[in-house]
């Protein structure tokens, strides 16, 4: 029977018995505005507190290749299967997209669940639907949930709002890029991976990052209890993915022991709630302005001040 006919609850029930098509369908519903609220309502209570790992870095740094290797390692090691949300940009002209990250993760898609997501007009390296999709994975006991960002050239700060642990992937020959983005990198990175360690210049890149971390420590910009590790990796063979997995674990423990994890999750909740409020507020605002033209007419005629007009409508906007 077609999955298209099933309700969110039915899909959840199927997905929880391991039906991957049902989970795929749920993610689609989480992506589309007409259905996303229903999915959120049905899944928010089912959280198993999955660890959310963000992977960011410039285009072609080897994020997808690294994720493929990391996931291969995780499927061997952990009891819960990992999931991946791989994000690629939508074309601003047509709204269509070509999603190409999956190609590098094809070896692991029997145990892990890999989903390609287009940004659909959202800037900042993520898609609007990311929190909703993460929640679906979490509800279905996938852990960790890995998010590969678009990789648009500059550091994507959004990822820190969405992830518990953020891994920044850099590759050699990007010395200048590292320099230019110092502040941004430090702000988001919990772990650095110097990928393409088989290529010349990898140790220089490592040294640059090290210096940068030293500097920020001296100037007290960074947390003194936690220093982001730098891990060298050749993702073509995945030699150090074990180390990367361990570093993620260490950071996870640090989040727990330091209370930072609670802080981050609180921050994330605030971010999401604020986003929703903002959206709701916008919609209300437009609605009130469209329906109550009397106050606007008075304001236009100069009979009342703009401030007075806003005050007169504020109540309605909140209640709309």
């Amino acid at each position: 029977m077609s999955l298209r006919k099933l309700s969110v609850e039915q899909l959840l029930e199927r997905a929880s018995t391991g039906h991957r098509g049902a989970l795929g369908r749920l993610l689609t519903l989480a992506e589309n505005s007409a259905t996303s609220e229903a999915v959120t309502e049905a899944t928010f209570g089912l959280s198993k507190a999955a660890h959310i790992v963000g992977i960011t870095g410039s285009p072609g740094a080897g994020k997808s290749t690294m994720v493929g290797q990391l996931v291969a390692h995780l499927t061997k090691d952990s009891q819960t299967p990992p999931a991946v949300l791989a994000i690629d940009p939508s074309s601003p002209l047509s709204g269509g997209a070509i999603l190409g990250d999956r190609v590098r993760m094809m070896d692991v898609d029997d145990v892990a669940f890999i989903r390609s997501v287009a940004t659909r007009g959202h800037a900042g390296g993520l898609a609007m639907s990311v929190p909703g999709c993460v929640r679906v994975f979490d509800a279905m006991a996938y852990d960790p949930v890995i998010i590969e960002t678009v990789g648009v050239g500059q550091v994507e700060v959004d990822i820190t709002a969405a992830a518990d642990t953020t891994v920044v992937v850099v590759s050699p020959g990007m010395g200048d890029a590292v320099q230019a983005n110092k502040a941004g990198l430090l702000e988001v990175a919990d772990i650095f991976v110097v990928n393409k360690a088989d290529r010349p210049g990898a140790s220089d890149t490592r040294r640059d990052l090290d210096l940068m971390l030293d500097l920020s420590h001296m100037t007290g910009q960074e947390d003194t209890e936690y220093r982001p590790p730098i891990i060298m990796c050749n993702s073509l063979v995945g030699d150090t993915v074990g180390e990367i997995a361990d570093a993620i674990d260490t950071h996870k423990q640090y989040l727990q022991s330091s209370g930072k994890g609670v802080e981050r999750r609180a921050g994330r909740a605030r971010f999401e709630v604020a986003n929703r409020l903002r959206q709701q507020f916008e919609a209300n605002l437009e609605g009130v302005l469209d329906s109550d033209t009397r106050v606007l007419t008075q304001a236009a005629a100069g009979q009342i001040s703009p401030l007075a007009a806003a005050n007169a409508l504020a109540e309605q906007v909140l209640r709309f």
Binding site: G60, I98, G100, R102, V103, R104, M106, L236, V237
Partner: protein, 546 residues
């Protein structure tokens, strides 16, 4: 004749021309007007930078080689075809392999299902190679083998057959395509990542230089780049850049550029834009000679020659009104001849849909025979040289190519080889090719470009005629053959040879050819040998650039 040419260059040309034997045909027009062997200005054909041709006398001495592929079904089937060709006076054998063989897979692989023996001959073990060349003295023939990913293994098998039949290995003549770089750019028949693949190519260059001096270890191929959708200039530039990359790799191994330079040859596409193609061929010779001399320090002129094989453009053939493809092929073949090709393959008109039928293949051969024997274009070397348009087009092709070389040089920090690696890794080549293909497609779609029978002049399409279909019996036969070889062989020897091969692969200072040769002699299969190296080298997945 107006002004007759003179000067020291002309004298040198004349001397070279006079020194060569000529074909025994009248060099005059159909109406009986005698014509000279060359017209126009220096440098003349056979003179640096060879824009006008690699030989002084060009087709007056020897027509281009009319090469048609053979290779279908089992090794025995192809062997019968080979013998027929040899009996009818041919000395060159050209071998096409089936898809599993090209990808280093055995006929028994799940990937091979439905593909065994279909587009070429299936080779799993040395036994198949023995069947393929049974009762043919390898010392007497020149064999061209179109294979890349597993080229080293197939070459080793060829050597093993020679050894077993008492032919001196240094007497072996022929060419193996072995152009791995263009696989990542266009044809996509790779096994390992680029760098280890290049090591195998370099090992083969070294091996043949030392042991098989008459064998061409690489045929640098733009054909597939063009088929994948590139422009003429991209075909030219990517192909020559790959050539530079092989040269740099061999130089880095301490090889002598004058030595291996002589044994590099090229393979280009001939498409329908007549003058663009001719300009491309002429520019190829000029660029190659200049770079070999100036950048890579060749001093022997023979190491500066861009000798090439040409095939008409398979992608230009339409499924609609297939007979009109004969006209396309004729025009493309003529461009190849006017561009000074050393050998030519003409496509069959029904190839847009399936493998060629015998009739279609015969018409294709006849088409180039008409160009060679009826048109008179073979009487004069570089007959279009000196035409303002042709000279401009040649310069323009060169200019565009040089721009691309500059980009690659930049990507590779002064090394074209590194530039090619980076361009493969970051998707530069496939991206550029896909852009060009898409642009062309859009233009056809918008009607800005007319493809006869496709978006205009469409009436009169009677649909496809009879299509050649290969039956499945070949697969059964091949599977049984492979099974019985596996039963008979000494499995300990196989295992030992494969272990050795993996060990050698781990040490980049060791030439892989001896270990591969040992493994083939133990009747290890093509796939087993590929897997032994894959353990060390890994595999390659291309970036999803569309």
């Amino acid at each position: 004749m107006s002004t007759s040419p003179s000067g020291p260059e002309y004298d040198a040309w004349k001397e070279a021309y006079d020194a060569t034997k000529k074909r025994d045909v009248p060099f005059e027009t159909m109406s009986g007007v005698p014509v000279d062997a060359v017209y126009g200005d220096a440098p003349y054909p056979g003179q640096y930078p060879f824009t006008r041709g690699v030989h002084a006398s060009m087709y007056r001495s020897r027509l281009w080689t009319m090469r048609m592929f053979a290779g279908f079904g089992t090794a025995e089937d192809t062997n019968a075809r080979f013998k027929e060709l040899l009996r009818s006076g041919s000395t060159g054998l050209s071998t096409a392999f089936d898809m599993p063989t090209l990808m280093g897979r055995d006929s028994s692989s799940p990937w091979a299902l439905g593909e065994v023996g279909r587009a070429g001959v299936a080779v799993d073990t040395l036994a198949d190679m023995e069947d393929l060349f049974a009762d043919i003295n390898l010392g007497d023939v020149s064999t061209s083998m179109t294979i890349n990913g597993p080229a080293a293994t197939v070459l080793a098998m060829y050597v093993a057959v020679a050894e077993k039949t008492g032919v001196e290995v240094n007497q072996l003549r022929g060419t193996i395509q072995n152009d791995i770089l263009k696989e990542y750019q266009a044809q996509k028949e790779y096994i390992y990542p680029p760098r280890p693949s290049m090591r195998i190519v370099t090992d083969m260059v070294k091996y043949t230089t030392a042991k098989m001096p008459m064998f061409n270890p690489v045929s640098i191929s733009g054909y597939h780049i063009r088929e994948a959708g590139s422009t003429a200039a991209q075909e030219l530039a990517f192909t020559l850049a790959n050539g530079f990359a092989y040269v740099e790799a061999a130089l880095a191994e301490g090889q002598d550029v004058n030595e291996f330079g002589k044994r590099l040859s090229f393979f280009f596409n001939s498409h329908s834009d007549f003058f663009e193609e001719i300009g491309k061929f002429r520019a190829a010779r000029r660029i190659w000679a200049r770079w070999m001399k100036e950048r890579y320090g060749a001093t022997d002129e023979r190491a500066m020659l861009c000798r090439f094989h040409t095939q008409t453009a398979g992608v230009s053939l339409t499924a609609q009104q297939p007979e009109i493809n004969i006209a396309r092929v004729a025009i493309q073949a003529l461009a190849g001849a006017l561009g000074g090709t050393q050998s030519l393959h003409t496509d069959s008109y029904d190839e847009a849909l399936a493998l060629p039928t015998e009739k279609a293949a015969r018409i294709a051969l006849r088409t180039q025979q008409i160009v060679a024997h009826e048109t008179g274009v073979t009487h004069v070397a570089d007959p279009l040289g000196g035409s303002p348009y042709v000279e401009w087009m040649t310069d323009e092709m060169e200019r565009q190519a040089e721009e691309i070389f500059a980009h690659l040089d930049d990507l590779g920090n002064g090394s074209i080889l590194e530039g090619c690696y980076v361009g493969i890794e970051n998707g530069y080549f496939v991206g550029e090719i896909a852009d060009s293909a898409y642009r062309f497609e859009r233009e056809v779609n918008a009607g800005r470009r007319i493809v006869v029978g496709v978006n205009d002049f469409t009436e009169g399409d009677e649909g496809e005629g009879e299509l050649l279909r290969i039956d499945a019996a070949v697969e059964d036969y091949q599977l049984k053959r492979l099974e019985s070889i596996k039963q008979e062989r000494d499995s300990d020897a196989v295992a030992a040879s494969l272990t050795q091969l993996t060990a050698d692969a781990a040490d980049p200072t060791i030439n892989l050819m001896p270990a591969i040769l040992e493994a083939t002699k133990a009747y290890a299969t093509l796939e087993e040998i590929a897997a032994a190296m894959e353990k060390e080298f890994g595999t390659y997945v291309e970036k999803a650039i569309v």
